[in-house]
């Protein structure tokens, strides 16, 4: 069975991103709304690549303070210690919790980095009309969408430590500026992934120029 492979766009149709109803696209320049659910209709997410790059660049800039600045400070009778994300992983590793050390290393360091790289590759290949490896790129996008949220892990670890370790002179923990930068990186990469439209991967150069 080899029916012609046509996209909704090819046939002048548009699929609602909220309720999935397929309807006829409005003429260019007319704001269209889904006849079933009233959501705004766009054949492709508006300004997808520009917005993806904007969020990505912002995330990449904040990635530096997120990893270089301490995310928390622990003070006790014996002095104070400032922890970055990486030194937090090292602490887990040294204390023998290898499984958790690897887990936190992946969630906090590998995932954000991979996510930014992967989105940059996806946006760049679309922009350069690269027509190969579409299946791999589609799978890459779906993976990024799924794992991005797990980077919030360290934010919650700091939250719990800050709340519990308030034992006066024995020990206290405060959150530091790195935590805010790191939280911003996670949020910005999620926005970047939401701004990117995976359908662009499958569009031909002709589709993109309209």
């Amino acid at each position: 069975m080899s029916a012609p492979r046509l996209s909704a766009l090819d046939l002048g149709l548009v699929s609602c991103q909220v309720c999935a109803l397929v309807s006829r696209a409005a003429p260019a320049g007319v704001a269209a709304h889904c006849p079933r659910c009233g959501a705004a209709l766009h054949a492709r997410r508006p300004a997808s690549l520009v917005r993806t790059w904007a969020f990505l660049i912002a995330a990449a800039i904040l990635y530096l303070p997120a990893n270089l600045l301490p995310i928390m400070q622990s003070s006790s009778l014996f002095g104070a210690q400032r922890d970055t994300i990486l030194s937090g992983v090292a602490f887990l590793w040294d204390s023998g919790s290898w499984v958790l050390a690897v887990l936190v290393f992946f969630a906090s360091i590998v995932v954000p980095l991979l996510k930014m790289l992967a989105l940059a590759v996806l946006a760049a290949t679309v922009q350069l009309d690269y027509a190969r490896r579409r299946h791999q790129r589609a799978r890459l996008y779906r993976m990024i969408e799924f794992i991005g949220r797990w980077s919030m892990l360290d934010i919650y670890v700091v939250t719990i430590l800050v709340a519990l370790v308030q034992l006066g002179v024995f020990a206290s923990v405060t959150a530091e500026a790195g935590a805010a930068a790191f939280g911003a990186v996670v949020v910005l990469t999620m926005f970047a992934a939401m701004a990117f439209d995976p359908r662009l991967i499958w569009d031909t150069a002709k589709d993109r120029r309209g």
């Binding site: 492979r5 909220v18 589609a138 934010i155 919650y156 024995f170 935590a179």
Partner: protein, 206 residues
């Protein structure tokens, strides 16, 4: 135009825009895109009833989870324990307003809004009635869903427990178990929720 264009509803893949015809699925079946292999839709037997049951159970456990301390800590007679909202307040009091807001939104506000919206949507639907504002509500649920991160929070609690175990005696609270339950029930609710069926019922009821 070919004659069969009116036969079955059209669906465009969310991931690659390939236009396809919907096919009826066997119970528990999944329809995948012919081109990019992304999931198009799946069959959810008794979706409304099951999602409502999981949602209500999650709401009850979520209330319990937020009423008791998550973990307690004891070092040389000094004791401390904190609820989730207490933890948010500690961050806020340290002037970490951004981090406090982020934690509040992802673990408390968005999950609560999602549970409330799902209940408002599904409870009347079970009796065949459609609550006013359903299209806006479904759009809202879709927007809020990626930002509720109870399961990531759970993992964060476990990591901090391991870190604290070296420093002090840790006492897992009622709330920790409740959060574990919320996590599983939210996953079950998400897996049984079928927006397609809700849209179908919306149209039938009108």
């Amino acid at each position: 135009m070919p004659r069969d264009l009116t036969a079955r509803p059209l669906i465009a893949c969310r991931h690659c825009d390939l236009l396809q015809r919907e096919v009826p699925l066997p119970e528990g079946g999944v329809a995948r895109c012919r081109r990019c292999d992304a999931e198009l839709y799946r069959s959810h037997p008794r979706s409304v009833e099951r999602t409502l049951a999981f949602t209500l159970a999650a709401a009850v456990l979520f209330a319990i989870a937020n009423s008791f301390p998550i973990v307690g800590l004891e070092v040389q007679g000094v004791h401390n324990a904190s609820t989730l909202i207490g933890a948010v307040r500690s961050l806020w009091d340290q002037d970490r307003v951004l981090v406090a807001s982020l934690v509040f939104a992802t673990t408390l506000l968005f999950p609560t809004l999602e549970l409330a919206a799902m209940t408002y949507l599904l409870a009347p639907l079970r009796g065949g009635r459609v609550a006013p504002g359903v299209p806006q509500l479904l759009r809202f649920i879709q927007a809020v869903k990626p930002w509720g991160m109870v399961e990531v929070f759970m993992l964060g609690v476990l990591v901090s427990l391991v870190k604290l175990a070296h420093l002090a005696r840790v006492e897992p609270g009622v709330s920790l178990w409740a959060f574990g339950g919320v996590m599983l029930l939210l996953a079950a609710a998400a897996a049984s929720f079928d927006a397609r069926e809700v849209w179908a019922r919306v149209r039938v009821a009108r």
